[in-house]
Symmetry: C2
């Protein structure tokens, strides 16, 4: 009845150490003797476990000719088989949706972009349809899935809130919807949170920056935080709703001014139109788009400079709050507005006047794929947790 502790635990621990070592060494291969050295396990133990893992298909002998030139018997070099597991990842945006399939190492072996559709339900239906088609060439179901959604995800209620750009989330329980229609564990996560995780893996593969924030500035403004290498979601899952940040205490009966009212893409264009109406000089059309406005600001356009000053100032104030409260080591700006270096430079300039020793501010390098990369990161972690028990546990039945 028991068999809890003694029988398999130690074996799983040892197996995990071997797999960890192999992941750490990747893409280098390792001999069993080498694994024994780095893990501290004995050679016979390693050999026994490796043989089981090889039978289970998790590892294989590298076909490459064992590297010559070194002394002693040449080693049989082992490597993890990238295709033993795969995961489904997706980023559901307001108009487009990115879907990908990742292998054991997080490489996206397939990727597709489709229209989101009119509402949340149609988006998730299309997601299932397209992904099942994409998964047809694999002979096993995905180990897990991670889906980014454009709103706050409340785990407890399984609902997405404040997805202003994509209607229909009120009547959809995304986790239940997907779990009913596919195999494997399902993770739902806010897209900005995933983008933060994506940028983190981009910046430091070994994740040395462990306290880290990513601000996405586009139609709306969102903030994702990584704390100690893990996503931070807050008490109710709504951490990072930085778009609603008040720029100052509103006067009684006055309409409060939020960050989004000054620094989102639509607000920037509106401010630019107003600046020209107010008589400021400009060579641009009053309905110019944000990249054009920022470019003009760089080359001395008065109206554009006024707008950039206002926008970047407000964002710098918000970042100063973020720094004093959460003290991230680095802030990455993403989204249509945020990834613009002109914008980031302006924010940095303002921030330096507001606080001492500001963190590094950098524009995103991943662009639209940041959330997808973050989703891969979540999937990979989820996979790592179950991989060894699945491989070695089945061995014992």
């Amino acid at each position: 009845m028991n068999e809890a502790s003694g029988s398999g635990v130690l074996r799983l621990l040892s197996g995990q150490r071997i797999v960890d070592a192999l992941f750490a060494a990747h893409p280098q291969q390792m001999s069993r003797a080498g694994i024994a050295r780095t893990t501290g396990l004995s050679k016979p133990t390693v050999s026994a476990l490796m043989s089981d893992m090889e039978n289970a298909g998790l590892v294989r002998v590298a076909t490459e000719s064992p590297k010559l030139g070194s002394l002693g018997r040449p080693a049989a070099l082992y490597e993890l088989v990238p295709t033993v597991r795969h995961t489904l990842v997706a980023d559901v945006g307001a108009t487009k949706m990115l879907i990908g399939i990742s292998d054991l190492f997080g490489n996206l072996v397939t990727e597709r972009e489709i229209e989101t559709g009119a509402d949340a339900r149609s988006a998730f239906t299309r997601l299932i349809d397209t992904s099942t088609e994409m998964l047809r060439s694999f002979d096993s179901p995905p180990s897990c899935a991670c889906i980014g959604v454009p709103g706050i995800y409340r785990r407890a209620q399984d609902r997405v809130e404040q997805a202003l750009n994509l209607p229909g989330f009120d009547e959809l329980a995304p986790h239940a919807f997907l779990t009913d229609r596919m195999e494997g564990r399902v993770h739902i996560e806010n897209d900005v949170n995933l983008a933060a995780l994506g940028e983190l893996t981009q910046i430091s593969a070994d994740q040395t920056d462990r306290d880290f924030a990513a601000i996405s500035v586009g139609t709306g403004i969102g903030l994702g935080m990584v704390v100690g290498g893990d996503l931070y979601r807050g008490g109710t899952g709504s951490a990072g709703e930085v778009g609603s940040l008040l720029l100052s205490l509103p006067a009684p009966n006055a309409v409060p001014v939020t960050l989004e009212d000054v620094a989102s893409a639509p607000s920037i264009r509106k401010l630019f139109g107003q600046a020209i109406e107010d008589g400021q000089r400009s060579n641009l059309d009053p309905s110019a788009d944000v990249p054009a406005i920022f470019q003009a600001a760089k080359t001395g356009d008065q109206a554009a400079q006024t707008v950039l000053h206002k926008t970047a100032g407000a964002m710098a104030l918000a970042v100063s709050h973020l720094c004093l409260i959460a003290d991230p080591e680095r802030v990455v700006f993403g989204g249509g507005v945020g990834s613009n270096p002109v914008f980031v430079d302006a924010v940095r300039q303002h921030l330096e006047e507001l606080i001492d020793s500001p963190p590094e501010l950098t524009p995103s390098t991943l662009g639209r794929r940041a959330a997808l990369v973050g989703a891969v990161s979540v999937s990979l972690r989820s996979m790592h947790e179950t991989l060894v028990p699945e491989i070695l546990g089945d061995q014992r039945r």
Copy 2:
């Protein structure tokens, strides 16, 4: 050469499970059969480990008469021995210093309050002197120590910064200083952080509120955050420096107004004096202290109400930022100003106008001892990590 994995690990894991069960059951005692049931270990395993632990002095048979009235053979009830380990805790304040010694369960068996002294070095010297005296009645050195300091502690440099109320920290490496003069691991931590942890253990002994903030408002303003049950320190250790939070974007060449300029105890008194100078009605002396001002505000004093409105409004703005960024489930206010219910009520009122679904705001119940209680919590965790290996590891030599 190896002996890493196989020999002791499983034994330690099992021992840890037993000890965890005993801690969870405390103050109830447990029979070996009961431990076997809750841990999933077999009865012989539990018996063997318990016998070792009893020899090591960690557990003992409760002297109480085994509870009668139940069926079957009466159990020998075991309990943890509270005195096997003890820890030193202290909260170094600007003028006073609290020192305590805690047992295995976090009960403070001794507690003393002494003067801090002129500077940091004298404070730490007194801390060592007094604590060694207090520890004389114990026959073993403390397992670890946790010391709260009134400033930002930078782990990497082993320095305390911004301890404005206690000079002399520039030339003191507190961790090295203490490690040189006492046995056991030493933890240095910001006092507001510890207060947050203290309030958390107060509110929920089982720590169900895992995302949690404590704001201390007194001479200065500080913020401590607990994320997922753990202290959050930020990238460089300076998270929570909320006193420097700007209330609005400063105009060019204007002096920026920070939260501390409006909501700290000295600022409140200054604002009150100014309000009277400006001709506002008041029954109070212009140099009244903060409790008097708040009390007067409650009973309709005009000048006092103006000040409270301004102070609480600024604090509410800061809390709104905190909520949008970090989304804590609860915020506890401590310190001379913060623990005043009049203040907390006023902040809550303002906050409800600023954001939807604000978190619970409550005044601190621990008062000045919050940081000490938090220090106990840190010590206990540190002790838990090493307890079982120490007890069972020695057995094998």
